[in-house]
Amino acid sequence: MQNETVHFGKRPGNPLNRRVWKDLVSDWKRYLMIFLMLVVTIGFVSGMYVANNSMMTAIAENVGKLHQEDGHFELSKKADSALIAALESGEKADVVSIFRERAYNEAEEKVVEAVNEAVEEKVREQVRNAITENVTAAVDEQLAGYAAVGMEVSDEQRQSATEDALDTAMAENYDKAVEEALKTAYESDDYKTALSDAMKEAKDEIDKEINEKYDDLAERYELNKDFAPVPVKIHELFYKEQTELIPTDASYSGKIRIFNERTEIDMYDILEGRAPENENEIIIDRMHADNVKLKVGDRIKAGNTEFTITGLAAFVDYSTLYEKNTDTMFDALTFDVAMVTPAGFDRLSAPLHAGYAFEYVNKPADVIEEKVLSDNFLKVLITQTAVTENETEIKDYVPAYANHAMTFAVNDMGSDEAMGGVLLYILVAVLAFIFAVTASAKLEKESSVIGTLRASGYTKGELVRYYMSGPLLVVIFASIVGNILGYTVFKNVVTAMYYNSYSLPTYETLWTPEAFIRTTVVPLILMLVINFIVIIRMLRLSPLKFLRHDLKKAKRKKAVRLPKWKFFARFRMRVFLQNIPNYIMVFVGVCFVMLLLSMAVGMPETLKYYQGSMTDMMFAEEQVILLTTDDEDGNTVETSTEGAERFSMESLIRKSDTLDEEITIYGITDGSEYIKLDKSADGVYISDAFANKYKVAKGDTITLSAKYENKEYKWKVFDIYDYSASLAVFMPNDMFNTEFGRKAGAFSGYMSDAHISDIDEKYIAKTITDEDMLKIAAQLDHSMGSYMVYFQYVCVIAAAIILYLLTKIIIEKNERSISMVKILGYSSGEIASLYLVTTALVVFVTEFAAIFIGYEAMNAIWGVLLMKLGGYFAFVIPFSGFVKEFVLVFAAYMIITVIDFIRIRRIPKVLALKNVE
């Protein structure tokens, strides 16, 4: 019976919305931690995406703008115009016909020569006989006249007269007669018949031989394979290589590859200064200049020739400074690329490298098409150079898609992006679960309020929205701030990282929708989904269950019976059992951090280890590879260096979809001191770097291919040789010579632990020392080393935040019990030992497991990473590295423990007495 004086008001807005803000404020520490972690991760990853996208776009645009080659090759000598024209036509040389033609021509000369010789001999004999006959007859007639008048002529006189007359006649008539007779003979049908018969016989012989060899030729030049002509445009890309010296830095010595002026192809982007204008000026690579601290205006020496640097540039074909395409790692520290004017080029005394760049006339649509074109053009190149008159050899052939100097930076950015993305999602998942655990703890804590609200008629949807709003707002704010930082601060951090490794052109920051989707939309959805699932699962329970604090789906379990431990031990066990879900999160979080730490600690440790043990790893400290094993006098090039051994070396390719990797094949002399092979070996040895990278085991068969020929080598692996410095195959030198069709006793050079100094430099192709191998580690260290230290700090902070958030939940859950035991008279220290020691033990045990898991995971990632790179070195973390990982995370935990201890001390005693349902 409602009273008339009742007044109604307006329906207020949802007070729970206002509560969302209050929740954020009242729990600001937790939300701030999550916010910061998200901001840094989203910021860094979106910075990475933005930087990558902007840079890759700039690089892609430069392909056209700066006329990037479709590939290049180098010949042993300058190509003549006929070869260039033949190559540009894109037609394969008809090797068989040309060889046949050449053999015919060669044979024809020989046949004609032989027939003519025979004819001449016969003619001469005939002429001689005729003259002799005539002279003898004339002398006889004359002497018969003398006899008729009674003059006595002795036999000696007759002989002498005949010989005199013959001499005179021969001198007067022989040559002329021979000439006339030859003329007649050459015109005779007999001669022509004889010639053609001989020719026919010779050609038959040649045909027979070529037919016999046809299979071999067809295989070598892939004559029977499908082929479509590949017309190309060829540009000269001549260069010279010299030692690079810096007059102001006596300790520095590197290698500089100086190109003649580029005007048509493989142009450059000048980041500072200008192009060279006279013979004394040079532009060099910007990245290398940064590394060796060279500036515009500085002077450098290429060999003995001095230049002034007028500009720092990024060459479109050298975004990554790979000296050779088969190098394991680029080298921006001691390898430089430069360009001078034609006059400047002439000043250089070093031998000319006949490099040529080519462009397809009909551009391929994609990489698959490009690969077909490149394979076909290689056939053109091989056949056309094979048929050149002046024995031109191919020294190098690199199509654009396989050119690390052009593709590595882009690929690296791509894989960084992928890796960054994966880390982002793992971290977001970890944070989402922390949110979820937090939300579920909060729901438990507010159980009666939720029960009351549900009983009052609040729908599940309203409560789900409310409980999701807090985390959602944090994620949205973090996304906004993260994106802003991504486009500003972090983008610059990432580009600085790339500019520190690669020779990249100038770029413009681009709006990158993908970055926004990947770093903002996807994490948001991920968070929402995980939170939604957790919250909706709990809110599915009836209001009554909330009112009764009966939130476990399963029937209440009986308390686990514990053994008769001391009271404190049992108490701790109870704390552990009660918080298992949180401890699982601790485990996941610590594993995540350990994975990152494995990278941050392991990477520099691996490089350090590699650098430190490289010298030990090499089987001989020096390998001298000879240009020729015979000196000018035809004697074998020898060395008297103690311990020097002959060996043979050849490079083959291990083909795969991702990478054609160069494998070095060694032929080792019997009883070698450096490489000890079992004489009775049935097969070859491979280095353990090879075995590890490609997972090859004893007894397997390996298949390797010749670089520029279609020839395969299959060998059975007899054993794995303990050598991790390179991917190599070892076999006895005799076997080597047989396999590669060399003469018995042939070899390529000498290996020795002592320095080989007695071989004339003109016979040496190159000397390999440990420094060459160390370049890889030095460059990796330069590119990543310094970041890894920062990364270690980031990991410690991440560990601290994750542990902070999770231990906070554990303590909050137990606030009332803690308050209660305080009332009972326990000291803060005792309480801490009850609640904190349990967590400490969990963290302690978790760390061991996480270190192992993180290491194994990183090992797997490392394997995948190296599949894309040439070469191999194992991922190594020494024991001290594991200790470091352990200590770093435990230190983070100790800091959090102090905070937790303060938290415990601050829990008021009255809490236990207040408003207990």
Binding site: Q2, N3, F8, G9, R19, S448, V449, G451, A455
Partner: protein
């Protein structure tokens, strides 16, 4: 009073048991009663008599095994979970022994959580004055005494002007004086807003101020009396 108003709440043969097999325990063993509109009905009974279970079923937060409940003609057993939520939202107010206030909302905001559920809530300031909480409206629950907190929880339930106010031992955690204050408030609310009130209590004295007293024992109604000599809350003594 019309027949409809007299049978505003009608319970027919209501049964409820917990557990199964040997451990099966019948809590409600077939209850039949009606409550008239605007009536102040007290459910009395010792612990375990089934009074709270009955209240929960009436409030749509627990299900009966058998029997029917009609409220203002609506049949509860026909409603699905969503329907029950809407039913609670539109027609019911709940007050519990524990106040279950939201700790980081102030007094007024806590009451607004109730007001938000109604299209036509009571004037909050007026209600705050009736509750004697107007001066405390900006305080957080932990700044209030138990009695004050229970007033807030009554305010939260009543602000949406529900047809039925369900109170589960609202004075159970309060001292004598405070309990009387709360009872006085409920009486006042009943008089002013005319809501039907069903209160579960084990305090026998309270029956004296009720219009209708239902006594339960062992899941059965032992007495169902209309109190024609009701006294005010002020006059109650125990």
């Amino acid at each position: 009073m019309s027949e409809e108003e007299r049978k505003f709440l009608e319970v027919k043969d209501l049964k409820k048991s917990f557990g199964s097999g040997d451990t099966k325990q019948d809590v409600l063993r077939g209850l039949d009663f009606t409550v008239a509109k605007g009536e102040f009905c007290v459910l009395l009974g010792p612990s375990g008599s089934g009074k709270s279970t009955l209240l929960n079923i009436l409030g749509g937060i627990d299900n009966a095994d058998a029997g029917e409940i009609y409220i203002n003609g609506d049949r509860l057993s026909r409603m699905d979970e969503k329907g029950l939520t809407q039913y609670r939202r539109k027609h019911l107010g709940y007050v519990f022994q524990s106040y279950n206030l939201i700790p980081n909302l102030n007094v007024k905001e806590n009451i607004e959580t109730g007001a938000y559920l109604s299209d036509k809530p009571l004037d909050i300031d007026e209600l705050l004055k009736i509750l004697g909480l107007y001066e405390h409206r900006h305080k957080l629950p932990n700044q209030l005494s138990g009695g004050q907190q229970q007033r807030v929880s009554i305010g939260r339930a009543i602000v949406k002007n529900p047809d039925i106010l369900l109170c589960d031992e609202p004075t159970g955690a309060l001292d004598y004086t405070t309990s009387k204050e709360i009872l006085r408030l409920i009486e006042e609310v009943n008089a002013k807003y005319g809501n039907t009130i069903i209160m579960v209590t084990h305090n026998e004295a309270i029956k004296l101020m009720a219009d209708h007293v239902i006594k339960l024992r062992d899941g059965k109604i032992r007495h169902d009396d209309i109190n024609t000599t009701k006294i005010t809350a002020d006059e109650l003594e125990w």
